[in-house]
Symmetry: C2
Subunit: 123 residues, 2 copies
DNA sequence: TAGAAACCTGACGCTGACGTCAGAGGTAGG
DNA sequence: CCTACCTCTGACGTCAGCGTCAGGTTTCTA
């Protein structure tokens, strides 16, 4: 498939896909005229990349670990990296959960005060 | 306390603290010579701000909700905003958990392949 | 076979949360 | 009072993940 189809399939912009290629994260075959062509599996690859981005992992780190992620094969060094990112992701989750509790307690208090008719400072 | 002490206490840079003030998130008293002075509670405020930032909430949104968070009082509009951010935080957590599973399955596969002595492509 | 739609390569723009540097004034200890 | 460190206000730099525009080629559709 061509880049536009891959983009609509994955919900990622064409620009982003080119960017991924620039970063070495996503390969493409080129037609005679230079247009990119992708196999069907590319969509999964793109989703994987997006997921790793969502975990706050940088392009460079993704680049390091991607071949191993894809082949399911990793050197001890890459395994260490993976573990490191795993910890980082866990910490992010914990932080977000704490934030969630913060928000909840704020909202609980806010609801009560709203009952009692106390106003909020204007924005 | 002065800005340096607050910085070391909270682990946030002096620059960041000035930035928070610029954004209206953190007030300070000024001495005759213009130096910032903070009460002890400022540290908690800074931690709160950091937590909201960590949840992907922008300065502008934090600014909207901060007075309510501090006073425990919110208008229905602010409550709606809070709910919206709550959902966003939950989605972030879910995404991160999926990523975590991805990483885990990758690491499981990698460990097995390492047993079997299959090498990883060089970085 | 025309014209629209998709694609190409640069290359500059943007956003947010700061980092960093310059040049000048404040402050605390010996 | 000197010195070392802290703080001040601009103001420009950075970085990542794209958005967007320009100017040109390719591919599909009627």
């Amino acid at each position: 498939m061509r880049i536009g189809e891959l983009a609509t399939k994955t919900g990622v912009s064409v620009r982003a896909l080119r960017y991924y290629e620039e970063q070495g994260l996503l390969a493409s075959e080129r037609s005679e005229s230079g247009q990119r062509h992708y196999p069907d599996e590319a969509a999964n690859r793109v989703r994987l990349i997006q997921q790793l981005y969502a975990a706050g992992i940088s392009s460079a780190s993704i680049l390091e670990m991607l071949p191993c992620v894809v082949t399911g094969v990793a050197s001890p060094q890459v395994l260490a990296k993976l573990r490191q990112h795993r910890s980082s992701v866990i910490k992010q989750i914990e932080d977000l959960q704490e934030t969630l509790h913060q928000l909840d307690s704020v909202m609980a208090g806010a609801a009560k005060s709203h009952e009692s008719g106390v106003p909020c400072p204007p924005s």
